[in-house]
Amino acid sequence: MSIAIRRVTKRFGDYVALDNVSLAIASGSLTALLGPSGSGKSTLLRVVAGLEQPDEGGVSIHGEEATGLAPQERGVGMVFQHYAAFKHMSVRDNVAFALTIRKRPRAEIRERVGELLKLVQLEGFADRYPSQLSGGQRQRMALARALAAEPRVLLLDEPFGALDARVRKELRAWLRRLHEEVPVTTVLVTHDQEEAMEVADRVAVMNEGQIEQTGKPRDLYEHPANEFVMSFVGPANRLGEAWIRPTISRSASGPTERPWKQWWSASSTSGSKSAPS
């Protein structure tokens, strides 16, 4: 296991943000923490990053106990919803930050930054400042910055939440491809079910500080553990006391495929190979 979260509880005053949460995340996987706002998913991510200390329970990363460690010592890379770009630095200096403070040789930094900028398709933008980039470009810069120090774990906190719908879809597909190129264990926090289902290998559905169900996207759709998961993941209608999936085959043209796939491939752009903006 790459990340093991053991019975973590976190309170803010009287408010219980995380209630006895346990979760195991496999090495090299891309796991989504999916839930409505206030479900505790971001807090859980911040506990893994070391930006919040749990009141109870612990976290280990790659078999090492990480509970008491500062964020600097965890070998994590983090991407924030609002980019957290260093506005006074050029794109090059932003990406180089982790290497610069580690006092790596200049030639090595230059080479690594070049590689990373290529990876996130920002080669021509090294001398620009974050304010001269679009939202999607800023977020890709933030991703390159987080990857610079070769983290063991990549944590993405609503990375596409501040972007418009079209760019969000492009970046999703791009992130999926990136993960295949750079298979670092990745945890993605999102409130967007479509995003979780399309990008992640595994999804943990969270609600009110607890994990409702963990599984492959398809399993969550086909075998929701409870009403919450059923209503939150994919379309569902209430019929008397029960929730049911609408029968998609009726409205879909062409031969009936697995309904879970139809539901979200209708809005996905995984086929697009163009560079995201």
Partner: protein, 275 residues
């Protein structure tokens, strides 16, 4: 069109009557009889000492208030404790209090008869009628500027950039130095300029605690008054011009720094507010 012209005339006329005309008069009167008397007045020992003292006090008070101001702003914005509102209000006290009252309160504490003063004087440290008291008074009256300029900028930038720096391996100190400090530098610059101007121009508080001993505890502002009261108008005007030049230099330095300053990070709201 006519209304706009009227507004412009009113604004410029207001400035002319209150600022340009009196200041121009001082310059004109100073150099009325040529450079000779001005040079003599400026190089008189008491005058030179007053200039030196003013600069010295500013050199101590401004860095002190800059460091304190940044720390205080950090505490106000990021701290989580009960007395925060009180601290926030206390910082503004020097704005609200008349400088003379500041001077008097320092006198009450640090003079020979004050409850800390007697102990200090027994140990050979004179505060009142000496340099330490004048520095204290100047620090007191110029305390809020850096805090007030930095607090809104700190609020605006939030803590995300710093946290990002932590996850990238930067120690809290490195993160502060490389990420937070550059982000708040315009707030600090503006605060420093205001602090400097206030420190150089302070009269009331320093007047009470200094004792106005010519050649010893007389700053430029006190020197202006002393010369004026001795009917040495040239001396008073000369010292006034020196003060004005110091103020202009401060403004010039800021203008230069600003020109070099915000390169392209134009969407940073902190910078926007200061432009």
């Amino acid at each position: 069109m006519r209304a706009r012209l009227g507004l412009r005339v009113a604004a410029l006329g207001y400035l002319a009557l209150l600022l340009v005309l009196p200041l121009g008069m001082v310059f004109w009167r100073t150099f009325q009889h040529g450079l000779g008397p001005v040079w003599d007045a400026a190089t008189a020992p008491n005058s030179l000492h007053a200039l030196w003292l003013t600069v010295l006090i500013a050199l101590i008070a401004v860095p002190a208030n800059t460091v304190f101001g940044v720390v205080c702003a950090l505490v106000i914005v990021r701290g989580r404790f009960g007395g925060k509102t009180l601290l926030n209000a206390l910082v503004d006290l020097p704005f609200a209090l008349s400088p003379v009252v500041v001077g008097l309160s320092l006198y009450l504490v640090y003079a020979r008869t004050g409850w800390l003063g007697s102990w200090l004087i027994d140990h050979g440290i004179a505060v009142i009628f000496a340099l330490p008291g004048m520095i204290l008074a100047t620090i007191f009256v110029s305390l809020p500027f850096v805090v007030r300029e930095v607090v809104p900028v700190l609020r605006e930038i939030g803590t995300e950039q710093e946290q990002a720096a932590w996850t990238l391996g930067a120690s809290p100190l490195t993160a502060f130095r490389r990420v937070t400090l550059p982000a708040i530098r315009w707030g600090i610059t503006y605060g420093v300029v205001l602090t400097t101007a206030r420190a150089i121009g302070e009269f009331g508080a320093v007047s009470v605690v200094s004792g106005n001993i010519a050649g010893r505890t007389e700053t430029l502002t006190l020197h202006v008054q002393e010369r004026f009261q001795s009917f040495d108008l040239t001396g008073a005007y000369t010292a006034s011009v020196e003060l004005a030049v110091l103020a202009l230099l401060t403004l010039l330095v800021m203008t230069v720094i600003r020109k070099e300053g915000p390169r392209v990070d134009s969407d940073s709201p902190g910078d926007e507010a200061l432009r």
